[in-house]
Amino acid sequence: MKNFLKSKGFREVLRILLALLIGLTLGFIITLFVSDDPIAAYKAFLFGPVSRLNRIGDWLEESLTLILLGLAVCIVFSASQWYIGVEGQMVLGALVSGVVVLFVPLPPVWRITLAFIAAMAVAFVWAIIPAILKAYLNANELVTSLMLNTVALKLFEYLLKNFIMPEKARSLSSDMIPDELRLPSFIPNLPIFTEVRELWMKQTSVTAMVYVIIAAVIFAYFLLYKTSFGYELRTVGSNKKFARFGGINVNRTIVLSMTVSGIFAGLAGVHLSLAIYNRVMMGMSFGLGFEGINIAILAGNNPLAVPIAALLYGYLRAGADVMERTSDVSRELVVVIQALVLLLVTAERLLPTIQRRISDQREENNNNNKIKDTKRTLKGDPNES
């Protein structure tokens, strides 16, 4: 028990919860100023996401996407690549998987399988552009990946408008995916579950994708911490020059860090079009790719902590939705709280460093005094005479 309390994992969770608590308290204080009925507004924020089944569904669905995005960012951040192209990879993954399921004439199982593979592959390949630019021409990946997000989004829009959208559609959207091509519910189709299953299927879109995501978390963990590729990735992230000195092919590792992250980002896209929206449409949770960065920071780049971080973060977002719909407080307040939480989490990471600095300083002063004292004794203290 004692060991558990001292363990790193426990402290990490405690740290995030503490940051959350402080963030929420500050958020409440702000709510007091902006709302006529702050208690009701905050109640909606805190308990709204679990107050109804469909809201629980909303929360879980978004959190699941966030888990995949968080994993994608963990991979690139572990290699210290400030790559933020996860958004673009997700958008393309959504497009490709939707198109495959809608149009490729294959039996359902094969269609869906192909959709998964195609989405992951396209997201993987997409990252080759910024990766090569970075590895071989030292072009800043932050800039190139950000630009490519826009390219991906516009490509998505163009293809949707001109090729995918049915002619007489009123909104920028494909047809709905037919029932027989949809992913099954995450609840097994067993007689004892029939009732629950129907209820969840009616009110939510939590699909068997849950299992894919659990597998993805475990896969990412093993990839980062158990394989030689993960070792190369983390070593490059820790000190690029050292990695090169030791014989690691740094450029190849950088390229792979960005492309492999595409596997997860592509899956996030699949989750959007095949699980949540069941079609390809404009504005389906776009922008979420950037939230993946926050998840990875909260999780300290550890894939196993990503689900917790994503569920917490997703909860804040879901609460914000409910609060916005049911009270006079806008969701911007929640963005403030999210920012505070992130700030506190990252700031807390700075604390030990600052403490060390201070103690070093003290030690140094002591040493200096000691030197002075010794010299004084050797020379005879001028103050004494």
Binding site: F222, S228, F229, I248
Partner: protein, 514 residues
Amino acid sequence: MKPLIDLKNIVKVYDNGVVANDGVNFSVNKGEIHALVGENGAGKSTLMKILYGMEKPTEGEIWVNSDQKHFNSSIDAIAATIGMVHQNFMLVPSFTVAENVVLGDEPLKNGLINKEEVLKITKDLSDQFGLFVQPDAIVDSINVGMRQRVEILKTLYRKAEILILDEPTAVLTPQETDDLFKAIRILVKQGKTVIFITHKLREVKEISDRVTVMRRGKMIGTVDTKDVTREQMANMMVGREVFLDINKPKIKRGEKRMSVKNLSYVSETGRAILRNVNFNLFSGEILGIAGVEGNGQTELIEVITGLKPAAGGTVLVGEKDVVNSTPREVRMRKVAHIPEDRLTNGVAVRSTIEENLIVDRYFQKPYKNGVFINYNVVKKESEALIKKFGILTPTGKLPVSSLSGGNMQKVIVAREFSSDPDVLIAAQPTRGIDVGATEFVREQLIQIRNEGTAILLVSADLGEVMSLSDRIVTLYEGEITGVFPDASKIDEKELGLYMLGIKKQSAGEMEKYL
């Protein structure tokens, strides 16, 4: 006459415990050219940074013009009419020469920068001191010599009376150096005082009135330049410190392990750093490279180990030419490398000790199993190394940043020695570590030499090179200037003359022993 600048008993201890200046007294008279010489790491730059307000002394007093000063930053030093030209120029490359000169204190007209005035100021200063520049040229497009003159003009514009030039000739061609010297003479004629940092003794003789020599943070002495010979200065600079008697059995020289032929390297800026370096390295011997730092040692090692591309030549390891191979290819030929810069190349401080110990072998059996790394094996092997090399840590799972400098070095030594190398390149293997760790590393070097490893040793510590090496070559400005087949029979004064390029053996003389 009272000195213009008087530094009294300056002590500087850095946070990491390095003593850079140890009770240094340094005074400069008005109107003189004062050379400050010493090897790299002797504490010259630190002393000048203290005078320029960039570093605070741990102890000691700064007197300028008979006033005691307490500089909090270089702004205070500039106010006390001190100006400094750094080794790495600090100019805005996209601005013009004139804009750079006035940057930070621009002449204004109606609240806007007065462009004509800016050009005129620069032109006038340039004419007055004979420092030729093109005021309207963009800094990015001008050569190094002119950039340096811009830096000097910058200090003059801020009314500097005392100019500190930090190794100003290091980046210049001989022609540019002559121009610089002419300019310095004009400056002094107009009443300025110049402090000139260098380790090139020829230049000291040519330009300075007085010279102060530093060694290992201490001041060795100040003398009138006309009263000393270059040989005497060399002795003051490199003097050897006796440290320990190394118990070294007689050399059993074996087969040739490495053969470097006509190796050359040109820096990114186009300067020739290595010129046709030749030597062989044999099993069971330590070949020491003696030289003042910055004469190509770093580059020599990095070219050999695949970290830098060669401009020409070959490096045979056994029968295979490894020039321009990747670092891993070189390592696969059983070449190990203790790098000069511990924190940059030697370790990844955020990674664990275990992870640091396997960087050269994680992809081989028994560490790798399929796509996975077998962390049980890693743990077992790491624990054995931690024990064998006495790395002070409770576990190998801690990040390297938790270790002291000496223990970090032990991590590196443990990794490189345990790779069972045919050739070991050891650069500054004992730099900045405590006495105990130093002794340990030296003993280990001797031991693997006795076991037949060929060792190339580069160290700024001449005492170390002389007592560990079996054979020594001297490197000066990227060229081998001498080879000494028996290190125990060398007079260090003689060695100093070769290190500083005052003497040189002919190719024919060296051929037999290289």
